[in-house]
Symmetry: C2
C-alpha cells in the first residue's frame, strides 16, 4: 500500500531536495539577499539556488521582498509556514550533533 496520505511523505517530497533544508536552515536565522544565501550555503550554483528559491516561494515557504531602492534590494525570508520548519531543522541538528561527530563527516 502506497501511503500517499502520509504527512512524512508529503513533507519529504518538498524538503528532501538538495539544498532545500540548508536554505531553510539559513533563513531561520533571518532574511537574506541572494548573494548572502549563496555564500552561506557554499557550493550552490546561482541557477540551482534560483530554482530552489522559486520552488519554496511557489509552495509558500519563502517570500521574496523587493525594495525599490537604487540599487534594487531583494530579500528572501521565511513565511509562517517556513518558520514552522524550525522544529524539523532543530531536531536534525540535535540528531546530527549527537550521532555524526564532525570528525567522521
Amino acid at each position: 500500500m502506497v501511503e500517499r496520505g502520509c504527512p512524512v511523505h508529503r513533507a519529504w517530497e518538498l524538503l528532501g531536495k538538495r539544498w532545500t533544508a540548508l536554505i531553510i536552515r539559513d533563513l531561520i536565522k533571518g532574511k537574506k539577499r541572494f548573494g548572502e544565501l549563496q555564500k552561506s550555503l557554499g557550493g550552490v550554483s546561482p541557477k540551482m539556488l534560483s530554482r530552489r528559491l522559486d520552488e519554496l516561494k511557489d509552495c509558500g515557504i519563502v517570500k521574496r521582498d523587493v525594495y525599490p531602492e537604487v540599487p534594487l534590494r531583494v530579500e528572501y525570508s521565511l513565511t509562517r509556514k517556513g518558520k514552522d520548519l524550525k522544529m524539523v531543522i532543530d531536531s536534525m541538528a540535535v540528531w546530527g550533533k549527537k550521532w555524526l561527530p564532525e570528525t567522521l563527516s
Copy 2:
C-alpha cells in the same frame, strides 16, 4: 563560508536521499522483512531498496538480522542511532499534517 561543521548539513547528507526518510518512518513502527518494506514504501525498486538499506546499515542506522530458518528469515530494524531519528520523522509529520493538507498534495 561553507558550514562543513554544521550538524544539519551532516544529517541531511544522510537523510536527504530518496526513500531514506520513508524507510526510517516504516522501521520506527517495528522490524520488517525486505518484502514488507517494499510493500509499505510502494514504488521503490528492489535494487534501490537494497542500496538504501546497505547505506543505512553502513552508517549504523539500520541492522540486518538473519535467522537460520528454512526458508531463511531476514529482518531489518533500527539501531539506537536509527530510533533516535524518531524526533526528526515526528516533527516532519507534525509539519506536514499542519501545512500540507492531503487534498493539495
